[in-house]
């Protein structure tokens, strides 16, 4: 399972970075979304995978015993997902606006801000 997740993370990172390097604005956003998912998977993987033992304290005990799943990475992923959701929705509005005012989605033609006038 770890191997599978590790390969999956690698693929998501590679795909995300490849898409960010493309010239189209839409692909750029998709690339960022995919990279964000790759990071979430990485956090999940790095927290250590434990199968079938949720971090719940039994009624007759006061602390967890034995091996149990770490709840912290899940909380981290949840936070990261919410944040990246907000950012991505902003990004989509931004590219829509950019397409409207600049009349292009080719990143290569967006070089007005670097002109020396």
């Amino acid at each position: 399972m770890e191997i599978l997740l590790a390969i999956m993370t690698g693929i998501l990172y590679a795909a995300g970075i490849y898409l960010i390097l493309r010239r189209s604005l839409v692909k750029l956003i998709i690339g960022i979304v995919i990279l964000g998912n790759g990071v979430n998977l990485l956090i999940f993987l790095m927290g250590g995978l434990v199968k079938g033992s949720p971090p719940l304290i039994p009624e007759d005990a006061s602390a967890l015993e034995g091996i149990f799943a770490d709840p912290v990475p899940q909380a981290l992923i949840l936070t990261a997902i919410v944040i990246s959701f907000g950012l991505q929705s902003f990004a989509i509005v931004l590219i829509k606006r950019a397409y409207k005012v600049l009349k292009t989605d080719d990143i290569d033609t967006m070089n007005k801000t670097d002109d020396i006038t």
């Binding site: 960022i32 990261a80 944040i83 950012l87 931004l94 670097d114």
Partner: protein, 508 residues
């Protein structure tokens, strides 16, 4: 009250932002609320500073979860000094925004977002937890996206696309680093990490992780190969927003870098080398970039990059003297860079353009304003006794005594090239004969401003120049503060003890 004073700087701006959201339809009231909020922010920051100064590092465990299980907020001298300076810049920006922002921008919640940004900055400065640092970074960048795009001129949108992509990418890299740290150590509390990291056997992995953090923060602070988004976006928004970004946003990256590389990953020889080379090239390319630009806001943008090199260079030397210099330079830079962008805004109103070619005759037409503008420019160059001179003493001394001639040469190069650039600005704005050109229609020039409008543009500059002058003539105050910060940063046990509530026998 005093017990939880640590988190008040965040709460002040949160409350201000909520009040501003409640008065959404009423831009006139928003202006006053924002100014009052910033003043309260300065007062709270000052109180916190005096508390930290007399009682040592303060900490609050949020939700009363004991460290390292909960999130800890830690206010050490470094953080609180930055909070005070942040609030001073916020006050200046909120005053100039009353007139620099057209009311259509105010109607889209400019002020509320502005205070969320300041809240994010305060949070990033006082958090003691890596993941919560990431969250505050996101609060900062999402507010800055809105501030950058609000109003929406073509060029602004284009700058925003670049700014957005690179900042998003840097957050992802930062989060990757956090995931790795958690995987290796099982903790995210910075104080606890400072104890766990040195005991890890696989130090090669630790080095790799530290470099991931360096790339993440490097994008945010604009160091050498990663700075291209900065000059592409910082000149596009109105002067008030540029000033805020220039003064504070790159500095929060540097703050995170200094914090992480002193507390969690103390620099080893290889990392020192990497940082040093990066700092040198940052100075070189920032300076050369500024030299070829012909637009005043773009020149200042490149100068930000150039001077980031001072702070990274100071950190890379990694001795107490060098850190003192870097931190002190940071304090000077926050105030002066914000002032310069505000000055750029006033010049835009005077000449109707930000191109150097269109300017001229400022000295003859506005002698008093020129005198005011010259002070921060000379301070930037580092003409003694102005503020840029004092931190350079520590930085030059540290690089010379450690025999790092590359860095020393680069520091001198930066000072010289800044002088050349300021001389160029001087020639074309202050002393050159004004260019005869048609006045723009439907553009309100500075000379037609009413007194209140002029005041809104000039008062913030006077406030910031006042702080610069205070820094210049009472530099020993900042020197003492910076020396204490240097001690705190280099001896991490003070931070550790504050977080875990261990009583200290010897106070700093």
């Amino acid at each position: 009250m005093s017990e939880h004073l640590t988190i008040y700087p965040i709460i002040v701006h949160l409350l201000t932002a909520i009040l501003l959201l409640l008065s959404w339809m009423n831009p006139k009231v928003q202006r006053y609320i924002s100014i009052i909020g910033s003043i309260v922010g300065i007062i709270v920051g000052g109180l916190l500073f005096s508390q930290v100064w007399t009682e040592g590092i303060q900490s609050v465990q949020l939700g009363n979860w004991k460290a390292p299980f909960g999130i800890t907020m830690v206010a050490d001298t470094f953080a609180v000094t930055l909070i005070v300076l942040t609030n001073i810049v916020a006050l200046a920006v909120s005053i100039i925004s009353t007139r620099n922002m057209v009311s259509s921008r105010l109607k889209f919640g400019y002020y509320a977002i502005f205070h969320f940004l300041i809240m994010g900055l305060s949070g990033a400065f006082i958090t003691g937890d890596l993941f919560s640092l990431y969250v505050w970074f996101e609060v900062i960048i999402i507010s800055s996206f809105v501030l950058l795009t609000i109003g929406g001129r073509n060029i602004q949108i284009e700058g925003a696309v670049k700014y957005f992509t690179l900042n998003m990418l840097s957050s992802i890299i930062f989060l990757t680093g956090i995931a790795m740290v958690y995987g290796v150590t099982g903790s995210l509390n910075m104080a606890e990490l400072s104890r766990i990291i040195p005991e890890i056997e696989n130090q090669g992995l630790v080095h790799t992780i530290s470099l991931i953090f360096f790339i993440g923060f490097g994008v945010k602070s604009g160091v050498f190969p990663l700075y291209f988004w900065l000059p592409a976006s910082y000149h596009t928004p109105p002067a008030a927003v540029s000033a805020l970004f220039a003064g504070l946003l790159t500095k929060v990256g540097i703050y995170a870098m200094i914090r992480v590389f002193t507390l969690i990953f103390p620099l080893g020889e290889i990392n020192q080398m990497i940082l040093m080379v990066v700092a040198g090239f940052t100075i070189f390319f920032g300076g050369i970039g500024a030299l070829v630009q012909k637009d005043i806001q773009r020149i200042f943008s490149y100068l930000i990059i150039c001077h980031i090199g001072f702070m990274v260079g100071g950190l890379s030397l990694f001795t107490e003297v060098a850190i003192v210099g870097a931190v002190m330079y940071m304090f000077h830079d926050i105030i002066v860079k914000a002032t310069l962008f505000l000055i750029g805004g006033v010049m835009y109103r005077i000449f109707g353009s930000t191109r150097l070619y269109d300017m001229g005759g400022l000295m003859d037409n506005y002698p008093r304003l020129s005198f005011l503008f010259v002070i921060p420019m000379f301070a930037l160059v580092g003409v003694p006794p102005l503020s840029g001179f004092w931190p350079k003493v520590s930085l030059f001394m540290a690089s010379y005594t450690q025999g790092e001639m590359f860095l020393l040469i680069m520091f001198i190069f930066a000072s010289l090239i800044t002088l050349v650039i300021i001389a160029k600005i001087w020639n074309s704005t202050f002393s050159k004969k004004p260019v005869e050109r048609e006045k723009r229609k439907a553009f309100k020039y500075f000379e037609k401003f009413s007194f209140a409008e002029k005041a809104a543009y000039i008062v913030p500059i006077i406030i910031l120049v006042g702080v610069t002058l205070y820094y210049s003539f009472f530099a020993e105050h900042f020197q003492v503060i910076s020396e204490r910060i240097g001690k705190e940063l280099m001896n991490t046990e003070h931070y550790y003890n504050a977080v875990f509530g261990i009583k200290e026998e010897t106070k700093l």
